[in-house]
Symmetry: D2
């Protein structure tokens, strides 16, 4: 199977590398072309447009940072849609809103192509390790065909139904993640402010029912308030919270805590932390 | 060592039972005397007042539900303090505010007794299994003496410094727990509202960096919205959030998200859910 | 001057009536045509489309309830834009987001027409009394021409600059209104809950620096919790809060309190109060 | 009638001066004795303790900044209670919690004295002008006797029932005031951030149903973000919000918006703005 890959940021380049490692032949494109170098060195073919990627592939995967970026590589004369052959597969693994993914599905259909949305949970490390969680939805036939690909990129792969379902699941997932990290940060801020040993506090959290990898991974960088090397950019988390709140609003669901969490992330954005890891939210808590 | 135990609620009776199982001889008292029966059947001596417990013991432990209940068994002619011998140990394992625990420490000192506060993390199941997390603070000498007792009740035991430090740590711990559960509930509410498969959603959460025992334990009861058999009463969580916010306020620390979480718990109390498990907070989310 | 008027809801019909009373000849259109009757009885000409309104007028005014409704009467073969003559004036008095109003301005320009956005502050009563506050922005020349019209509909009229400025001002205005009403309702809820005389409480508020017409107008309906006859529909306030929060987000401004106020309005919408007056927000406070 | 006055801060000294102007003979005490000078120059007698004030007066008024300060002048050998004669009147005009005022009432009763709580709405200017709102509660007989005094200090005076009712009313009043000012500040912050003319924005607010003296008084200092000359100290507003939230919690009433407003005031306190006017809350909004 010839695979195309569009979007080689932190996540995309790691995911594409795992496909390459598994022996798949890749056609690739990225807006900043220099990001293609490592994959080209590994045997991938760098082409001149998202359309060219689609024209070279049976299945084209995109991994972009937001809805506008998805549209930018999808639409227009040089876009993926323009290059899709009848019966080809288009898989968008970006985290976007439901409207965006449903539009992608419709556009693929106009070309006689199949579509999957397949947003992932997990950031840099799981992307590199091939241990992402992949939530797919859309054309079941395509899902069954590309499952081997997904199994190279993720360790938990599921099919959630019609296009849009995976976007909703991803947003609900990230809503929990944002709120959970803020709960952790507010506890850490209180512990620090009243003079507790933060390492001991983290041990307590880790000994009980709340024990989880995220607190372990982010805990020391939050305690030290030094750099926040980016695994998942804060600005992407804020985007996801915004999309989740919009989804909730459309569904008639008030979410008081998430709304407050979103304001904290907006505050962090305003403080210039958008490109830091989302754990940098701790910088604006208690400040 | 003769041990006294005052306060035989959900937590206290399980903790005392673990001491009894380990062979310790117990003198016990509870406001509702019928709760003493199982321990008496196991060989404990039921006495007529908290003071009598202290008079019969080298080390007396209390496990009460709030600061007022601690004061009720501690103070006055029939209180623990009145019965403490010089050199005896008084360990309050209740979750209370810093002022309450520091007063307990001073009162013990007036009797020439030693004091530890030792609030625990973990609810009914860990209490029964002897796998609580125990945060002790106060007189180090007493800590070293009673560590074997703590090791019967808990699997993670630590010494946090002077009296008050453990209360602070416990409150910070429960602040994280309350916020984390609300984040989970808001995500579950959104998932349900937009028609996702809740079991699949929980699998996604459990496959990634947020995976933790609390979500696994509470998830199905939140998904089903049936009964919420009580492991940790909702009213106690709200009390802890209030105390944590007071501690933060005293320390000059605003905590926007925790304040909102606290209002949700207050709303649940107003809805009559105080004696349900704290996972019943899900009933008032999105309502 | 021949005037067109599109959109005859609560606000639009009162505003158009004031123009008619002042002697202006009106061409009118409304989606529900029966709403045109009173104005037709007063001499207005009912035409068959928004486009026909524009074709019959030197200046066409629209007063719609949200951005989608503005687009519906503005765009397409039967829309206002299609009927605008070179040099004609198009005034949209709806409360919409900045993007919508800027698009309206660009579309008018493609026809060689002039454009003003002119959202208003004030609800049914000021609309009927001609005492609205009118915030206009866009083409200054058109503003100077239509000032006499504005002075029939409002008592405070101002020019805020380029198109978009008035939309922004209106959103900031309504943000304050929503938050201020919620502050009032939370105070009233507390007063009621602790057994105070609500009439006396309102007198206290009215005697001091907070004294304002809104509290006087809404106070008794909030105290009685009976019907909430609609002056400004709750769903429109929630829409404005959403647009205001979006504007703030685009500008990098976190607004913690407004975000919480917005969730309360979303909760009221979910409770079926969208078509009640926005004072019905009191129904979901403390509930 | 011989009047005593204890507590000569911003409010107390202005209120006492109005009594002096009306011809009343005053016995006075203040913790910082130099604050007594202006009143002494006007004929008042400075005495050595709150008790001495009570011993010299038929009616003693106290005006303190918080519950602890009320207790400090009320209790002990040198306190007001110790100096009250049978049948004398004790009026505490401080804003305190319900428990504090009810204790004051009980203590006065033990001396055979009458008690009124009489918190006021209004800050420096209304205190100076004798235009405060005075909410009295407690012994009706004393109220009828001292009404002429109240009419010198306030223009709106009311009797709210048994001791505690006025405290509750004052807290509900200040809850509205805090929330309303924050709503105004968030609107102003948005207006400023998107480039609107703030003077024009204030005109818009003042032209409609929200028009109120507080926005007019605080508006220009908020727009300029310069000094915030203190009329009502921010730290007192935060205290009142805390007490109001506690009152609501005791009554089983969740107040989501007020809780968020309170966190903003706590943030302002942490930023060192406690002694500025409460309008300085604008400094931490959008920051």
């Amino acid at each position: 199977m010839k695979i195309g890959f569009v979007g080689l940021g932190i996540m995309g380049s790691a995911m594409a590398a795992n496909l390459q490692k598994a022996g798949y032949q890749l056609a690739i494109w990225n807006r900043a072309p220099e990001k293609c170098a490592p994959l080209v060195a590994g045997g991938a073919t760098q082409v001149s447009s998202p359309r060219a990627v689609a024209e070279s592939s049976e299945v084209v995967i995109s991994m972009m940072s937001n809805p506008a970026a998805v549209a930018a590589v999808r639409d227009g004369d040089n876009g993926i849609i323009a290059g899709l052959a009848t019966g080809a597969g288009y898989i968008d693994m970006s985290t976007v809103d439901v409207q965006t993914t449903q539009l992608s599905a419709r556009l693929a259909k106009t070309r006689g192509a199949l579509f999957l949305e397949a947003p992932v949970a997990g950031s840099r490390k799981p992307a590199e390790d091939g241990t992402l969680t992949i939530m797919a939805a859309g054309d079941r036939l395509l899902y069954d065909t590309v499952l081997p690909l997904f199994n190279r990129m993720g360790k938990k792969v599921l099919f959630a139904g019609e296009a849009g379902s995976a976007a909703r699941m991803k947003l609900a997932n990230n809503l929990v993640m944002g709120g959970m990290l803020v709960a952790f940060c507010e506890g850490m801020a209180l512990a620090a402010k009243v003079g507790l040993d933060l390492a001991q506090f983290q041990e307590v959290l880790d000994a009980g029912a709340m024990s989880n990898p995220m607190f372990r991974t982010k805990g020391s960088m939050i305690a030290q308030q030094g750099d926040f090397p980016v695994a998942f950019p804060l600005k992407h988390m804020q985007k996801d919270l915004r999309l989740a709140l919009q989804l909730a609003e459309d569904a008639g669901l008030p979410l008081f805590t998430t709304a407050t969490v979103n304001e904290l992330f907006k505050k962090a954005l305003a403080a210039g932390l958008g490109d830091s890891d989302f754990a940098a939210i701790s910088r604006v808590i208690g400040g």
